[in-house]
Amino acid sequence: MDWGTFVTHQLPIMLVVIVGVPAVLVGYIVGTELLVRRLPDALRPRVRPWIWVGPALLFVFGFLVLPAFGTFKASLENNSGQFVGLHNYQVQLSDFPSGGSWIAIRNNAYWLVLYTLFVLAFGLLLAVLFDRVKYETIVKSLIFMPMAISSVALGVIWKFMYWYQPPGVTQTGTLNAFLGLFHQDPRIWIQDPSIDNFAIIGAAVWGITGFAMVILSAALKGIPGELLEAARVDGAGEITIFRRVIFPLMMPTVVVVGTTLVIFALKAFDVVYVMTGGNFETDVLANRMYKLLFFSGNNGAAAAVAMILLAAVVPVLIFNLRQFRAVEARR
């Protein structure tokens, strides 16, 4: 980067933005509120809420709700905007099990099951183990740290972990060197279709486990100590206590974390994009959609893939809404 143009050109823009953006936002709410005050008394309480909630509704409607319908419409059209019925879906769902989107759908299913289960299992294990040591805070931050870095950096980190050299050459990749300790041949972790999906999911699990651990750990701390003490006094072993007392009490939290992870798994993109670009049978729906949109310029097909993704999310969405209403009803 050229520092001259940075100071004369880009820095001023940055300052204007940092001052200007909040000014516009505060200006909006103060300005409209002053206008509302001039309205007749009876009208004011009916107008005011829409002033406050209006911009948000406009954005959510404009960027999420309306486009969702637009995507549905686009999925029924070809590139010149002609109605083609279900043709795009037919193409995406043809030639089971290796044609169309099937590889991506299969991989998303792998993600859904393996990613969710492993993250929950590791998260629970770490939360329970760490709860018993005095240096809990430090080890927790270390596990949690990958949450702060981008999936792109995560992809680079793990490409390096999975680095491959042909047999006989010094293995500089951590995992292949580790295999070498046991006189195993190095593996081509991220280019061998029989293991690459699991290798990528493993990298993603590493990154997100801290998230599950932190939430589960908070739920664990919410369990009254007397309850565990009572179980111990009654002679229950630690494993029985976990199975019969801790786990049932944590179940609601496990479900909440699980649904969040299911959504993450369905939306998986960055890690795949960086590590394999979706090659070697590692494609997922989000990456396939991106490729169809930008490299093939096929909007209809991309929209159809997005709709398939939505179909997978709908059950989670309904579940979330029911949970939410149940919580509201208890309020």
């Binding site: 103060v30 960027f63 931050s141 939410f324």
Partner: protein, 309 residues
């Protein structure tokens, strides 16, 4: 029954020294510590490997594993960093990431705070249904919005190329991030605002305080913890975002944020791993500093967002 309890062999703490129970307790403790520490070490290895590699000379990286650098003789260098910073556009990417992240954090949170205030403390028709709709939208994949929003932007000339002369090249991505970040922000803040004691609002009303005064003088100052978590959350999510940036900004040198530049390097460098490790670590600096200094708020935000109710 209480007598029987008292006679039951106690925990390690109460057992006599060197009794079988005491030894068993000790072993259990040791196993626990070994498990905790080895799991933690296993978790740090990938990041540590990257960090150490980024400081090793090129010929060492290709001929031996990063762990060999832990033993003497120590050979570390900053060459990878100076080379990757001078040959790639990571510096520009760093600036672009800030230019994208700061407004894309401020705008959605301010707008969400307005809306959350209305959802929590104002009455309007369909309020609860609209809020339910927001909760539903939380789960919708962003992919569903790309095709229509992008065509809208292109059709109305709201593109990076057109806006660059005015210094507004990031406007599309700010707007997009605002739309995408709002549902979560509204949900989190409305829950927080609702939990504020209603007497505050009643007494403020009796004192004749205006809606603006209540919002800026009472609601916002009391919500600093929630706002802080949300700011950190949103900032990190945008700083680390790849997909939305790829769609609305693209990979051109002048506008690409760090994540996009790094992803491009991953494809172009291939075997140039010594540079890639330095680049990856460079991209992690800001999130790590934010995370390490504000971890408390970050964790609080995660908890508020997921175990509410």
């Amino acid at each position: 029954m209480s007598v029987a309890v008292a006679e039951r062999p106690g925990t390690a703490a109460t057992a006599a020294r060197f009794s079988p129970q005491w030894i068993a307790g000790r072993i259990q403790g040791a196993v626990l510590h070994i498990a905790v520490i080895s799991l933690t070490v296993a978790w740090i290895v990938p990041t540590a490997g990257l960090l150490i590699t980024s400081f090793r000379p090129f010929d060492k990286i290709t001929s031996s594993g990063w762990w060999t650098a832990l033993a003497p003789s120590y050979q570390f260098t900053l060459d990878n960093y100076s080379k990757v910073l001078s040959t790639s556009n990571l510096g520009q990417g760093f600036f672009n990431s800030f230019m994208i992240s700061i407004p894309a954090t401020i705008i959605p949170i301010a707008i969400a705070a307005f809306a959350a205030y209305a959802f929590a403390w104002m009455k309007f028709p369909l309020r609860d249904w609209i809020f339910l709709g927001i909760v539903g939208v939380l789960a919708i994949p962003l992919q569903l919005s790309f095709v229509p929003v992008l065509s809208f932007f292109v059709a109305h000339g709201i593109t990076v190329g057109n806006l660059e002369p005015y210094g507004m090249q990031f406007l599309p991505v700010w707007l997009a991030h605002t739309g995408y970040g709002l549902p979560f922000s509204i949900y989190l803040l409305a829950n927080f605002f609702r939990a504020l004691p209603s007497e505050l609002f009643e007494s403020a009303e009796i004192d004749g305080a205006s809606t603006l005064t209540v919002f800026f003088r009472i609601v916002l100052p009391l919500s600093v913890p929630a706002l802080a978590s949300l700011v950190i959350f949103q900032f990190l999510w945008i700083w680390n975002d790849l997909l939305v940036a790829l769609i609305y900004v693209g990979g051109a040198r002048e506008v690409a944020p760090l994540t996009v530049s790094l992803a491009n390097l991953t494809n172009s460098l291939g075997q140039g791993y010594h540079l890639l490790t330095a680049a990856a670590f460079f991209s992690m600096i800001v999130p790590l500093v934010v995370f390490l200094s504000l971890q408390r708020y970050f964790v609080r935000g995660i908890l508020a967002g997921s175990v509410k109710g």
